[in-house]
């Protein structure tokens, strides 16, 4: 029987902290996931990026790179790094429950 995870302890992460099963993610987990990456206060802009990551992944099967985020999410590169200082695409993917985006640019 599958149950909706209530806490992160019920989630399986890979060695880099990304969801093994992106289906196990739901928005209720986001505040705890963000805290895990040092983001204590989630702003509307954080949510915008996280939801964009999730939507891109669901539509295309892969999360966007920082370059794509900067061009299409409505949040500039500068702001992205203010919101997610330890790497916008990487952190937002961890928080959005999707695999790590690949790409060199």
């Amino acid at each position: 029987m599958s149950m909706t995870a209530e806490t992160l302890e019920q989630i399986e992460f890979n060695e880099e902290g990304f969801f093994v099963d992106p289906q196990a993610w739901h928005e209720g987990l986001v505040p705890e996931l963000a805290k895990r990456d040092g983001i204590d206060e989630l702003t509307e802009e954080h949510w915008k990026v996280i939801r964009f990551m999730r939507a891109e992944y669901l539509a295309k099967g892969a999360g966007p790179t920082v370059r794509v985020l900067g061009k299409s999410s409505g949040v500039s590169i500068k702001e992205l790094y203010q919101l997610f200082p330890k790497g916008p695409a990487k952190l937002a993917a961890r928080i959005a429950g999707i695999p790590k985006p690949r790409g060199c640019i």
């Binding site: 900067g70 590169i77 916008p88 640019i105």
Partner: protein, 154 residues
């Protein structure tokens, strides 16, 4: 597992193929949450030269990677043609142009510095360089900033 916390990347060449790798490595470092500084020296300064950075050329002479005869690379117009061809391919892959890339890397919070000795050598001033350049620094100041980082020379 030990991870890289900071990289200090030196760009010393002024050709297209001499500039891009360092830019890609700096941008990629920031995307991973790694601190990055870029230090432009010698002909690498062209990448941050306001009047020149839009006109960076691929080296077609003495570049065996292109796999065509050396004499052909020296013919008039060949460098421009090959540069244009390469830029076209890069654009198709959504790789930014050098001016746009410098701006983007600056927006990631990376440091962008020019080498004092090279600026003196070419008779340049701060306003000859793009506004993203934070400072013109000496090699000693570079090493101070680079403390504890991995230094990458390109």
């Amino acid at each position: 597992m030990e991870s890289i916390e900071k990289v200090s990347i030196i760009i010393s060449k002024g050709s297209l193929e001499g500039i891009y790798p360092g830019l890609i490595m700096a941008n990629g470092a920031r995307a991973e949450g790694i601190e990055a500084d870029l230090f432009f020296t010698f002909f690498g300064l062209d990448a941050i030269h306001a009047k020149r950075h839009e006109h960076i050329k691929l080296a077609t002479v003495g570049n065996p990677g292109l796999h065509f005869a050396t004499w052909a690379g020296g013919l008039p117009g060949v460098s421009s043609l090959m540069t244009h061809y390469m830029e076209h391919k890069m654009e198709a892959l959504d790789i930014p142009s050098i001016p746009e890339f410098i701006e983007m890397i600056s927006d990631t919070g990376a440091g962008i510095y020019a080498c004092q000795a090279s600026v003196d050598l070419f008779g340049l001033e701060k306003n000859d360089l793009v506004p993203q350049v934070q400072d013109i620094i000496t090699v000693g100041e570079f090493y101070e900033r680079a403390a504890g980082s991995s230094i990458i020379f390109t």
